[in-house]
Amino acid sequence: MATEILMPALSPTMEEGTLAKWLVKEGDSVKSGDIIAEIETDKATMEFEAVDEGILGKILIPEGTQAVKVNTPIAILVEEGESVDSAPAPKAEAPAETKAEAPAAPAQAAAPAPAPVADLSPDWPEGTPMKTMTVREALREAMAEEMERDETVFLMGEEVGEYQGAYKISQGLLDKFGARRVVDTPISEIGFAGIGTGAAMAGLRPIVEFMTFNFAMQAIDHIINSAAKTLYMSGGQMGCPIVFRGPNGAAARVAAQHSQDYAAWYAQIPGLKVVMPYTAADAKGLLKTAIRDGNPVVFLENEILYGRSFEVPDLPDFTIPFGKARIARPGRDVTIVSFGIGMTHALEAAETLAGEGIEAEVIDLRTLRPIDYATVIESVKRTNRCVTVEEGFPVCSIGNHISAHLMENAFDWLDAPVINCTGKDVPMPYAANLEKHALITAAEVVEAVKKVTYR
């Protein structure tokens, strides 16, 4: 019987990919394990092997096709003497189980609708031409521009060079800047974090990429004890201009050791600056600011956001200052404070709530140290209600801190207790259904808003 060959998911967060090249043609016989195609994902170009034996009856998706959804039939495999027509008709939609495999990316709706960014942000002049780019491209552009601008800036980390970046953030930078400035390291987090910090003490401006911030726990002594505290301990003599960056928080289906949000951990440390962008424009403008900053900056990215597209100002050089929140959506009934991927849920909830007549103001903190308290307080003075949204653990969360700050500084304006929406107080489970429940959802945000607005 003829079988369909489906577009494979080659990474936990892959939703679509490019069918770069067919390595077999119609009529060729294939054996299990034969490489039949090259497929380009958001992270890498991968070879795709046949699972079943047979003859390639028909190629359904020609090579070069972009944005092929996972589980789309790409070819039909037939048995000797069998006709292609006996294959089942291609299904219009990916099976439901595919969605279960990528539950952490629920808000496709957010991708092409970044209008509030441009409309409400005062970070670039009115009338600035915009271009659409992914967060990944924005981060890459930020690094490339700063490396062009300043010879002391260099990138180091695992797979940043020849592999072109574990998540393709540094793709092309090795070719452009050479191995002196794009430095592949062995798997030695504490070692290269320390070497980067030492190089910064000697006046270079390293960008240290962690493949994920989960692995930076191996290196946290240098981030905190060596990088963040030395200026103070040296009475102001020894600066440490360094950026520690990489994906933070849950990706999808990678379980507890690879799925932690460290925002609250780093935000606690005097001497560090902590950034957690949501949009591509913020990713670019804030990373450029981080590289120019004279202090150690922890720059927390998100794997799921890497592939999302946003409008970014088409300017040769723009930066976004630290300590300035962005009102992503204005509203009068409640203030939703979030940052990073939490913004996905905050904005989705705001959209749902608008349909029910509740106008939420959504604030994207963007930087967690320094925090823009003023924007939050001013908003709460208008709405008198506040819900915070983040992916991290509930205990000692950023939301807890915002709540305490509001208690101390805006108590009289609050008409309801502040509710913190966070990830659940459990290690991240692997099972798709459990993982979905461990993460914060837009529905939970909607529910929290209804509580504080007494609806």
Partner: protein, 336 residues
């Protein structure tokens, strides 16, 4: 481990001026540390205070082969390194007493002092953290394409930290100009080397990474100097890192609160009597008729004055004003 007295060169090829310089530098460290111990006892110095007494020849020997622009970084047992690279005794002592006149304005203390001017990068309180940091300093010189080297000092205790070997590995693949100086004083706090490892030849661990190295008599400043010359030439020639395992001995406790139960009084006394590095140079000076007893007494007096002056300064310098609590947390943002 107590070594037998090594045969020392009877007629070393060294000038009078050099010998006098070593004598002076080592004596300054010893007298300074004795004074620090005294001030600690008086309650003027608080917290941790790790004295370098006994190990003076290590840093003095190596500083003699350094040139302008070379960098150095060490652990928390750092007073000797600072004095040897030319930092001011007043600023070091005033940091120990936690005063505004200290190198870190009183905010770092004994373990955390720095001098950009003298290329001294600390003073680090986390055992072995200075090893990758030091390789990073060397990385900056390689990046800039100059021929400076970095001296990274760490102890036999630090040699058992994993980050040392991550650093060896990267220093090799990137051919970093770094001299790893293992000051093997034979005790990591109270744990003797042989109780902490079966691989007691510490320089030999570099072989796994292709890093050359050697063991050096750290109680003989001339031997340290000779080994240092070789190491530095290797690094300056772009051949990558070099390891010196310098066999030394600390006469005092690990810190001021050391119960001294892990080694005998006799062991310590024997080292002082038979292997003292300062006595060694003193003998060379007298035997070679480079100096008379009176000449050396004059030097002793001169050193004592420097140390007493530093102690007076450290007592009189005011405590940092309360505003200092809130300064130096962040550098002013500057565009490169």
């Amino acid at each position: 481990m107590v070594r037998k007295p090594a045969a020392r060169q009877s007629t070393p090829n060294v000038s009078k001026d050099e010998l006098l310089q070593y004598y002076r530098d080592m004596l300054l460290i010893r007298r300074f540390e004795e004074k620090a111990g005294q001030l600690y006892g008086m309650g003027l110095i608080g917290g941790f205070c790790h004295l370098y007494i006994g190990q003076e020849a290590v840093v003095v020997g190596l500083e003699s082969v350094a040139k302008e622009g070379d960098k150095r970084i060490t652990s928390y047992r750092d007073h000797g390194h600072m004095l040897a690279c030319g930092m001011d005794a007043r600023g070091v002592m005033a940091e120990l007493t936690g005063r505004i006149g200290g190198y870190s304005k009183g905010k770092g203390g004994s373990m955390h002092m720095f001098s950009r001017e003298k290329h001294f990068y600390g003073g680090h309180g986390i055992v072995a953290a200075q090893v990758p940091l030091g390789a990073g300093l060397a990385f900056s010189d390689k990046y800039r394409g100059n021929d400076n080297v970095t001296f990274v000092y760490f102890g036999d205790g630090a040699a058992n930290q994993g980050q040392v070997y991550e650093t060896y590995n990267m220093a090799t693949i990137w051919e970093l100009p770094v001299v790893f100086v293992i000051e093997n004083n034979q005790y990591a706090m109270g744990t003797s080397l042989k109780r902490s490892t079966r691989s007691t030849t510490l320089y030999g661990r570099g072989e796994a990474f292709g890093i050359p190295g050697e063991q050096v008599d750290g109680m003989d400043v001339l031997a340290v100097k000779a080994a240092g010359e070789k190491a530095v030439a290797h690094c300056r020639a772009g051949k990558g890192p070099y390891i010196l395992e310098v066999m030394t001995y600390r006469y005092r406790g690990h810190s001021m609160s050391d119960p001294a139960k892990y080694r005998t009084r006799e062991e310590v006394q024997k080292m002082r009597d038979e292997r003292d590095a300062i006595e060694h140079v003193r003998e060379l000076l007298l035997q070679g008729k480079h100096a008379s007893e009176d000449d050396l007494k004059a030097i002793d007096k001169e050193i004592k004055e420097i140390v007493n002056d530093s102690a007076e300064f450290a007592k009189e310098s005011p405590e940092p004003p309360l505003e200092e609590l809130w300064t130096d947390i962040y550098a002013e943002e500057k565009s490169a």
